[in-house]
């Protein structure tokens, strides 16, 4: 009967599949060095680099500014003759604010376009998603955003701040201002949760009290409860790791609850010039931020950067820390390639230690061991004009310490 024949054929097909699968097996996990890297295609008179940012989805508003800034650096380098005599040809892909898409596009850039390096990613989740792709293919990623630390991939260069270059100085500043208690507010994802773990360890060691810790889902705009809890806690300061749109709702609620920057300052680590514009200065005036760069940072390199950016994208466009870090990343990659004399990833990595660049934020130095860069920490105050003015800086670049090994209070964290 028909059914019987169908089944026999199905069984036959499945046996075939199984047989094909078993005979076609490749290397086992126990084999050493089985996966070979993909080499970049540098045969022509151009060299391709990948730009991997979210151009759609919730992260697009931030990541598009990073893309613009990378393009600016590429144009500058091409105008000055390119890298090792080759013009840079950027290949853009949209990560779509979706982590597996980031992994897919990274793989595409590496194995189909055979780019020499990739610049981009913003959220930690997207970085964690692409990290195995870069490690598998032995390809390079330049990651431009401050993050939660506790990571050191041999195939990623971290040009944004790690925790000891942003969060720890922020806490030091609060402590120096006499803050004895803090309240932690953050979006519910990996960066805020990890940052808050570090903050709690710091607080315990420095005689600060953490009066509360609250998380809102990414994109949440309901902050009535949280702000009430903050208000009744009577904390000296609030440490804010909210991301994106949530900040708008939080600060509106904060102001309408009668809380002010003078009575209870908020230190934010994800609000830069671009976000200030979106949230509205009337809600933010006087509040604090911790970064490594502001549009107002003095120096010739920054004046040039700001002028070039505004000339290309419009006079009303601000520059911000992640944009600057992305811009610096492209220039650092150029310097590494030129020092190595080749685009080869291993040679570039070997050449990276000690590379310096006169960046808009001041002199930065690549630490070859951690593949992070030494950066000056800066605390800023948001002004009525939407710009952020520095109120404190670390005086000299702070050496990166992603695992906080030099901080005794952080010994239990990693």
């Amino acid at each position: 009967m028909s059914l019987f024949r169908d089944r026999r054929i199905l069984a036959g097909a499945m046996t075939l599949v199984a047989a094909a699968a078993l005979t076609a097996c490749g290397s086992k996990t126990s084999d050493e060095g089985s996966a070979a890297g993909v080499t970049a295609d540098v045969s022509g008179d151009t060299v391709k680099v990948g730009l991997l940012n979210s151009l759609s989805g919730t992260m697009a508003i931030s990541e598009v500014t990073v893309r613009d800034s990378i393009m600016l650096a590429v144009e500058e380098i091409n105008a000055a003759g390119g890298v090792l005599g080759k013009k840079i040809q950027p290949v853009g892909e949209d990560g779509a604010s979706d982590w597996p898409t980031f992994a897919e596009k990274a793989e595409k850039l590496i194995s189909e376009d055979r780019v020499a390096a990739v610049f981009g990613c913003w959220t930690s989740a997207s970085r964690k998603a692409v990290k195995p792709v870069f490690e598998k293919n032995k390809a390079l990623l330049f990651y431009p955003v401050q993050y939660e630390g506790l990571e050191q991939s041999p195939y990623i260069f971290y040009t944004g701040a790690t925790t000891n270059q942003q969060i720890v100085p922020g806490l030091d500043y609060l402590k120096s201002q006499g803050a004895k208690s803090v309240y932690l507010v953050g979006s519910d994802y990996v960066f805020p949760r990890t940052a808050n773990k570090i903050i709690k360890a710091y607080a315990t060691a420095n005689g600060m009290t953490v009066l509360g810790e609250d998380y809102a889902p990414l994109g949440s705009t309901e902050f009535g409860t949280i702000v009430n809890k903050v208000k009744s806690s009577g904390a000296d300061a609030v440490f804010n790791t909210l991301n994106g749109d949530s900040n708008v709702a939080f600060f509106k609620e904060y102001k309408s609850a009668g809380l002010t920057a003078a009575a209870m300052p908020v230190v934010s680590v994800s609000i830069a010039e671009e976000e200030v514009k979106g949230i509205g200065t009337q809600y933010l005036e006087g509040q604090l931020t911790a970064w490594n760069y502001y549009q107002t940072t003095p120096g010739a390199a920054n004046s040039k950067f700001v002028a070039a950016y505004k000339a290309k994208y419009g006079a009303d466009k601000p520059t911000s820390d992640p944009m600057e870090a992305a811009y610096v990343g492209v220039h650092l990659w150029k310097a590494m390639v030129e020092k190595a004399g080749a685009f080869d990833v291993e040679k570039v990595r070997a050449a990276s230690d000690g590379i310096t660049f006169d960046a808009p934020e001041g002199l930065v130095t690549v630490d070859g061991k951690t593949q992070h860069i030494a950066k000056t920490a800066r605390i800023g105050k948001i002004g009525a004009d939407g710009l952020i003015t520095e109120v404190w800086n670390s005086g000299k670049p702070v050496a990166p310490d992603p695992y906080l090994k030099t901080y005794p209070w952080a010994s239990g964290l990693s």
Partner: protein, 395 residues
């Protein structure tokens, strides 16, 4: 014709054995067509695709085929059973997480812990609920059974209380949202928004090796074909007829003495099992499972693929899911800045001009060819054949 024989009112449904052929079906032609269809599908998936596509594109196809497996399940539950399952991400996630937890533990080695636990959770030892997943004998069946058990529990409650239509859809969405919030909140033990990533091996095989990636692709393609064969038998069985009857007239079926809740429950549980299996195979193919893959938006995207393909047909959901996923990749590579508009336009065009989905294209073309022949749906639609036969003399 298969008039549904009334059962004594007290007894529940007796689903006919899977694969039973409705009596009175003209056997020859349709079976031949089905066999030819399967042979063609197998040839495309096993011979043509690996030869034409690069390793990267083949890995993408593997990913699409996983989505297609979920779509096959939605085709049963929604297309045949009328349950708009807007929360299949939950079952996809359960399967995916079960598999990823096992693979992470296998990577960590005996007694080891996944890397992220020390980082985010500062745990000294493996949480209790992770432990069984160290054994493949637990984890592998769990990828399918866990979603089915959850679906069974939820379905028993929901269908008995006669929750249906929009209420059912909203409920399944809420479940997807709840699961995402739970996973993100328990960052120390679930990896939070990052999900479980950086998976190195698949039962001892190094996933970085392109040969092994190819093997994973073959396993996925084979599984999809097997699921399609199973689905075909299911929808041709007496149970399949009953499911359609419940979709089209639940009260009538109830008055005939059947229990519609049980009929729907079976379809819902089968669809959940397929989604779980898809999630489990997605993990070695893509190397990541995260809340972003199982929340409300991806759950809706699963359904969009099915709608575009044609939900009431056997192959429609598969074609739709693969087409939508492929279009997404192709458009976003070609137009990184504007692809979302183009994708939206595509959906609007399909819904406006092809309400039966891509699968109805075939019928449309045939109707044009033959002239005024009143073919209701194409050969892809195996369900309405009875109705068709009453109107159309065998050609």
């Amino acid at each position: 014709m298969t008039a549904v024989t009334p059962a004594p009112p007290s007894t529940a449904v007796h689903p006919a054995p899977v694969g039973a052929v409705p009596p009175g079906r003209p056997a020859g032609r349709s079976r031949l067509r089905t066999l030819a269809g399967f042979a063609f599908g197998a040839a495309v998936l096993f011979a043509v695709a690996p030869l034409v596509l690069s390793d990267f594109r083949l890995a993408l196809l593997a990913k699409y085929l996983c989505v297609a497996m979920v779509a096959v399940g939605i085709g049963i539950a929604w297309g045949r059973g009328g349950m708009l399952t807007l929360g299949q991400g939950v079952f996809f996630g359960l399967g995916g997480y079960a598999m990823a937890m096992h693979l992470k533990l296998a990577d960590a080695g005996p007694g080891g812990m996944p890397d992220f636990m020390q980082l985010y959770g500062q745990l000294d030892e493996l949480p209790l609920w992770w432990r069984p997943f160290a054994s493949p004998w637990f984890a592998l069946p769990a990828t399918v059974l866990l979603p089915m058990i959850v679906a069974f529990g939820l379905g028993s409650l929901v269908f008995r209380r006669r929750v249906r239509g929009a209420y059912f859809a909203i409920l399944s969405q809420a479940l997807a949202a709840a699961m995402v919030i739970l996973l993100i909140g328990q960052q120390g033990t679930t990896g939070g928004t990052n999900g479980l990533t950086d998976i190195k091996g698949f039962f001892g095989y190094d996933l970085d090796d392109p040969v092994n990636q190819r093997m994973v692709y073959f396993v996925i393609a084979g599984t999809l074909l097997a699921l399609l064969a199973l689905t075909r038998q299911l929808i041709h069985s007496r149970y399949g007829e009953l499911l359609v009857a419940v979709r089209d007239g639940e009260e009538r079926v109830r008055f005939l003495g059947y229990d519609p809740a049980s009929v729907k429950l079976v379809a819902y549980v089968v669809a959940a099992g397929m989604a779980g299996l898809a999630g489990a195979l997605f993990v070695p193919a893509v190397g990541i499972i995260s809340p972003a893959l199982i929340g409300i938006v991806p759950s809706i995207e699963f359904v969009i693929g099915v709608a575009v393909g044609g939900r009431a047909t056997l192959l429609g959901p598969v074609l739709g899911a693969v087409a939508v996923a492929w279009a997404r990749t192709a458009l976003s590579e070609r137009f990184p800045g504007t692809w979302t508009y183009l994708q939206g336009l595509l959906f609007v065009v399909v819904v406006a001009f092809l309400p039966g989905g891509l699968a109805s294209l075939w019928a449309l073309a045939r109707r044009r060819d033959v002239g005024a022949r009143p073919v209701r749906r194409g050969w892809l639609s195996l369900g309405r054949r009875r109705a068709e036969r009453t109107e159309v003399p065998a050609a």
